[in-house]
């Protein structure tokens, strides 16, 4: 009986032992995978459960397309869970087929099944990394140099830049130290330069490589932090400072030179140094009464000046104009007389006799013009003035006062001169022309004065009656229909002439007769023309003057053209 059961028992025992051996096979690793970087191909696996201290793992490798597995004996380390298979896969970057790897656990005499990698390990699975990054911050710039990985095991001709020739790129991440938010920029060169973002003084930078033509994953480098220090004495600052200093020195030099020049050039030559500084504001004006004599005239206060009066008075003036105590009476309505001059005017209306008039004209300044009645001889220049009640009250140059005489003015007394009266403006002269006519008279006088200034001064007391007669006629006689614009300058100009004319010598009678003849001819044709000033042209004809002509041939023969002065017309043209 026992002999029959013993084989069964032995069979059961062997079977149980066998089952136990198989049941206690080591479990295989759950997963095996490659984690490869540039020439750093690491195979990883998961440990088996309940491994012992003697458990180790067996690794095998096979190139895709080959049938032979190669064991990696260097990976048999106890309890090791990874193994570097770079030396077994050096041709990975040229062999496009890849490698399969498998791992099994071994414990004593037991070993597990093999666990295979899920995919072939190829170049596409290599994680791109950088070896190191050199950073430098200066002048607001970040200068970086990326160094590719260079493991020692890299064979010749298989460096990073040679394997990945084209389309290498790097992502640079800049992060403020105190923040988590970062700024990423892409550079395509190993040497890059970036601007420091505003507001960043302390920041950290990391770099991740990638290849634009490949799908390889990249890995960030270790973060490096920098701190910017404010450099006050940079090259730019120093250059700006020196330029500023140079400019400042230049400006100071210019100012010093300018002051020096002004100091030395301010000295006038001795001949130009006046003894007394002339203070225009303090010194009395030559004719203070004129500049200060601003009178608001009341028209009603002054009686209407009769035409006789208008035609009878001529006022002298200073250099630039008619200066007279009597205002210019241009119209019947606008008869404004200076308060000071009014009595003088009235006083002289009925004065038929020449009186010694105060030579106010002599008191005039250089450009003073004194217009006097034409019926007064030049020798009676002052008297002539007096007859018309001319009183020069020291009016300034710009003051023009011209009194018109009515025709038939009894004051026109002449000493045998046909022109011994002053032919003054007619009342019928339009109002708008009165002013003009006054101006015209004065202008005429000036011309005459120029002609006679060439005579020696000893003849000043003598005047040709013809000249005197002629001049006033020319100067005074104006046509009715004249429409002269009343320039103030012309008035003054004429006054000067009259002044000069009063001092004409008497010894030039013949000459004056010649001039008169010329003037007569001109007057006949067009207008009164200045014989001395040839440049003056006249285009207007004067209306026949209603002159109170004394019995005399010349004066009576004068028609309106005589009074047409070319001067006035030229002035009118200019205006």
């Amino acid at each position: 009986m026992l002999s029959r059961l013993l084989p069964l028992l032995l069979t059961f025992a062997s079977l149980s032992l066998g089952f136990r051996a198989h049941g206690t096979e080591l479990p295989s690793p759950a997963s095996v995978w490659f984690e490869g970087r540039f020439f750093q191909h690491i195979l990883h696996w998961t440990p088996i459960p309940n491994q012992s201290e003697d458990t180790y793992y067996q690794v095998a490798l096979k190139k895709y397309g080959s049938t032979v597995w190669k064991d990696a004996h260097s990976c048999r380390e106890a309890q090791a869970l990874s193994c570097d298979l770079t030396e077994f896969t050096l041709d990975l970057y040229y062999n496009g087929y890849g490698y399969w790897a498998r791992v099994r656990a071994v414990d004593n005499s037991q070993h597990s099944n093999w666990t295979l990698t899920e995919t072939r390990f190829t170049l596409d699975e290599v994680i791109l990394t950088v070896g190191s990054v050199t950073l430098e911050a200066s002048n607001g710039w970040i200068l970086g140099t990326i160094h590719p990985p260079r493991p020692k095991i890299v064979p010749a001709g298989q460096e990073y830049k040679q394997i990945f020739k084209n389309f290498r790129a790097y992502k640079v991440s800049i992060r403020k130290i105190s923040e988590q938010k970062n700024l990423t920029k892409t550079v395509h060169q190993e040497n890059f330069r970036l601007t420091v973002p505003r507001g960043m003084r302390e920041f950290c930078i990391k770099v991740k490589p990638f290849v634009e033509s490949r799908s390889n994953r990249g890995e960030w480098s270790e973060e490096q932090c920098l701190r910017l220090t404010e450099q006050y004495f940079t090259g730019t600052h120093l250059s700006i400072f020196f330029i500023f200093v140079l400019l400042l020195c230049g400006v100071l030099t210019c100012l010093a030179l300018h002051c020096y020049i002004r100091r030395h050039s301010g000295k006038l030559p001795a001949v130009l140094v006046f003894e007394k500084p002339h203070n225009f504001f303090l010194a009395d004006p030559p004719f203070p009464e004129i500049s200060d004599a601003i009178h608001i005239l009341d028209l009603e206060a002054f009686p209407k000046v009769s035409p006789e009066l208008r035609d009878s008075a001529l006022h002298g003036s200073t250099d630039s104009g008619f200066g007279s105590g009597k205002p210019s009476l241009q119209t019947e309505d606008s008869q404004l007389l200076l308060p000071g001059s009014q009595p003088q005017i009235q006083g002289t209306l009925g004065n038929e006799e020449p009186q010694e008039l105060p030579d106010h004209c002599g008191d005039n300044t250089d450009s003073g013009i004194c217009l006097q009645e034409p019926n007064l001889h030049s020798s009676m220049g002052p008297t002539w003035k007096q007859q018309f009640g001319y009183t020069h009250q020291g009016q300034d140059d710009s003051d023009i006062s011209l009194v018109q005489n009515s025709p038939g003015q009894p004051t026109n007394t002449q000493d045998g001169s046909a022109l011994g009266h002053v032919c003054l403006l007619e009342p019928r002269i339009p109002e708008e022309k009165k002013q003009v006519m006054v101006t015209f008279q004065g202008y005429q006088k000036q011309t005459r004065w120029k002609e006679e200034t060439a005579d020696p001064p000893e003849h000043l007391d003598k005047e040709s009656p013809l000249t005197d007669a002629f001049d006033p006629k020319l100067g005074v006689c104006l046509q009715d229909d004249l429409a002269w614009p009343p320039p103030a300058l012309a008035k003054g100009y004429m006054k000067q002439e009259s002044h000069g004319m009063t001092s004409a010598p008497s010894g030039t009678t013949s000459r004056q007769w010649d001039q008169l003849a010329e003037g007569w001819s001109l007057l006949d044709d067009v207008s009164c023309e200045d014989l001395s000033v040839a440049s003056w042209t006249f285009a207007h004809q004067l209306a026949p003057l209603d002159c109170g002509a004394a019995p005399g041939g010349l004066l009576s023969g004068l028609d309106a053209n005589l009074a047409t002065l070319p001067l006035i017309s030229s002035l009118r043209v200019e205006e």
Binding site: K62, Y64, G96, Y97, L116, T119, R214, S215
Partner: protein, 185 residues
Amino acid sequence: MKAQCASHWLLGVALFLCSVHTHSLRRCLISVDMHSIGKSFQEMKRGLQTKDTFQNVTILSTLENLESIKPVDVCCVTNSLLTFYRDRVFKDHQEMSPEVLRRISSIANSFLYMQKTLERCMHRRCHCSQEATNATRIIHDNYNQLEVSSAALKSLGELDIFLAWLDKNHQETPARNLTLNASSD
């Protein structure tokens, strides 16, 4: 005499230029984004290669098959492989996953465009030598040894090998376009 020498010289230069032009490598630019094709493959690579149970067999490469292709035969082999994938691999593979199927479709369209451009560009100038023909025949034989679905699956799993070979034997422009090199006899 001098004129004769000059004329001979000019003729020689002209002949030289013509020969260079005739025998020069003809470059055919194919505007295909190789990067996108590779990225699509990487996304479906795990699903394809994991299912490949025949680890000891390859289709595209025996050990030195594609490695031994000469530059002269690159044009022929390129055209042959593109035709292989268009006519056999993409048609034989039955993919159930929509994502994988979309990626396979994009790759297939890119291969189709590359092949047509290559045929139009080369136009009778892409001659196949005996070696190129043998290499192509081996590939077809390997494909035929396996079951169709397994063969197609394995061929799809070996797309990275084909793309790497294309990148190695053809120039890539900065725009990541493929410039195929083809030489004529």
